[in-house]
């Protein structure tokens, strides 16, 4: 039970409280670029959620089994080669490996979907290449790395936590970009001072939305208390 509460808190935290766009400012490029129409925004959100899940799964696997100090693969090679004291630490490669893994896997998925599921490709596959270099994806990988490398074994994240974080982050991104698209569709009809047109007003609106999202702060601790009370 506590296990699920923990997962829930990670998910809610990533989706609402520490919303990727409004709290961490990651994924701003598509947030500004693809938020002109609600349907486009929704497709983008779905694609981000999908890619972020793939990327964090891959990066968790690579970090856990290859990169972190004392990871199974590297220590096996080290001991085969003669071994000795010390641990092989490949953490320094993590940024390179993540970006490599993200780019390649996304390209693969894109080609796959394009060949075998053309309708699906039309609706969300076209967003895939755009988000390979989206900071939200790399950011999720970095967050996961923060919770795998250099943490005591008890607190180390498993694949489940990594997945929940990325799903939460993706859902949060979708919420943010769809809200923004809805507002921008209305903005089209309103009188905006000349210099503020375009990105200017979008930033102002995003600021107000960020202010609103600050209201979610503390929801996780309240939820945690609620569940604890319910359990006892």
């Amino acid at each position: 039970m506590e296990y699920f509460v923990n997962l829930l808190l990670i998910g809610v935290g990533a989706a609402l409280i520490h919303n990727f766009v409004f709290y961490y400012f990651v994924g701003l490029c598509p947030f500004l670029g693809v938020s002109k129409r609600i349907d486009m925004a929704f497709g983008m959100g779905l694609a981000v959620t999908f890619v972020i899940s793939i990327a964090s799964t891959l990066s968790w696997l690579l970090t856990y089994y290859v990169l972190r100090p004392g990871a199974p693969v590297s220590s096996w090679i080290w001991s085969t080669l003669g071994g000795g004291s010390g641990e092989v630490n490949l953490t320094i490669l993590s940024y390179l490996v993540y970006i490599f893994a993200i780019a390649s896997s996304v390209q693969f998925v894109e080609m796959y979907v394009r060949k075998f599921f053309p309708p699906l490709y039309k609706s969300f596959g076209i967003f895939l290449p755009l988000i390979t270099t989206n900071c939200a994806i790399l950011f999720a990988c970095l967050e996961i790395m923060k919770n795998v490398v250099g943490v005591e074994p008890a607190a180390m994240w498993g694949l489940d936590q990594a997945l929940v974080l990325s799903l939460g982050g993706g859902v949060g991104f979708t919420i943010a970009i769809v809200i923004m698209a809805g507002i921008r569709e209305e903005l089209e009809l309103s009188e905006i001072p000349e210099p503020m047109r375009g990105p200017g007003i979008v930033f102002i609106v995003a600021g107000i939305l960020a202010l609103a999202f600050m209201g979610f702060a503390g929801v996780d601790s309240a939820l945690a208390r609620l569940f604890k009370a319910g359990m006892s």
């Binding site: 709290y23 701003l28 940024y95 970006i99 950011f139 001072p193 960020a210």
Partner: protein, 215 residues
């Protein structure tokens, strides 16, 4: 295509204002907003971007003859990621507190479109000297944008500038906290962008007035 492109000086000057990466091209916004709560992290970030931009531009410019068109982005990304890792480690080693304050935003330079766009536009086509000039110009333009936002946010949010108290009543409970928090970043960015556009328009009209006959 036999074209030489802009000279080193032009590249340098263009990067700062006419093609300012943040205000003009709206590139690299994530770190721009995230690190500008105060001057010091903004300065550090600008320095890190300068380092990565110069190194990546030089290396790409050196190997530009070997690039295959369809693999060029992969090569750029590899190069950038490597230099970002080095920058990240250098910060952690010699400016530990700043490295902690910047957190994930240093590695996020990898996916910052500014650098990849400079590799694509300039250094994969032009020589090393031009590439360096370009890197400095764009990095200064970026720094200018970062510091302008950070100035507004730090002064309004904390009442200090580079940790020097500038606002009256900075003792005690001064603090327009929203300016330091994320909404402040969006609002200040939006308003500065508006200001930038307004000034641009004024200048454009000034030129127009001068050239229009007897208006």
């Amino acid at each position: 295509m036999a074209m030489n492109g802009p000279t080193a000086t032009e590249r340098f000057v263009n990067g700062i204002l006419p093609e300012n990466p943040v205000y003009r091209q709206l590139l690299g916004l994530c770190p721009t907003l995230a690190v500008t709560a105060a001057m010091k992290p903004a300065l550090t970030m600008a320095g890190a971007v300068l380092f990565v931009l110069v190194c990546a531009n030089v290396l790409v410019s050196l190997i530009r003859g070997l690039l295959k068109p369809h693999l060029r982005i992969l090569v750029f990304t590899l190069t950038i990621a490597t230099f970002v890792t080095i920058a990240d480690r250098l910060l952690a080693a010699y400016l530990y507190s700043m490295s902690k304050a910047l957190g994930p935003y240093v590695p996020l330079i990898i996916v910052n479109c500014i650098i990849i766009s400079r590799c694509e536009i300039c250094s994969s086509k032009q020589g090393v000297v031009t590439a360096i000039a370009d890197a400095f110009g764009v990095a200064f333009g970026y720094a200018l944008a970062l510091l302008s936002i950070a100035t507004v946010r730090e002064i309004l949010g904390r009442g200090t500038w580079l940790d020097i108290p500038v606002m009256p009543l900075t003792q005690g409970d001064y603090g327009w906290s929203v300016m330091i928090l994320s909404p402040g970043a969006f609002l200040v960015m939006g308003l500065l962008l508006g200001l930038w556009n307004w000034v641009e328009k004024r200048r454009a009209r000034g030129r127009l007035g001068a050239s229009a006959p007897g208006a």
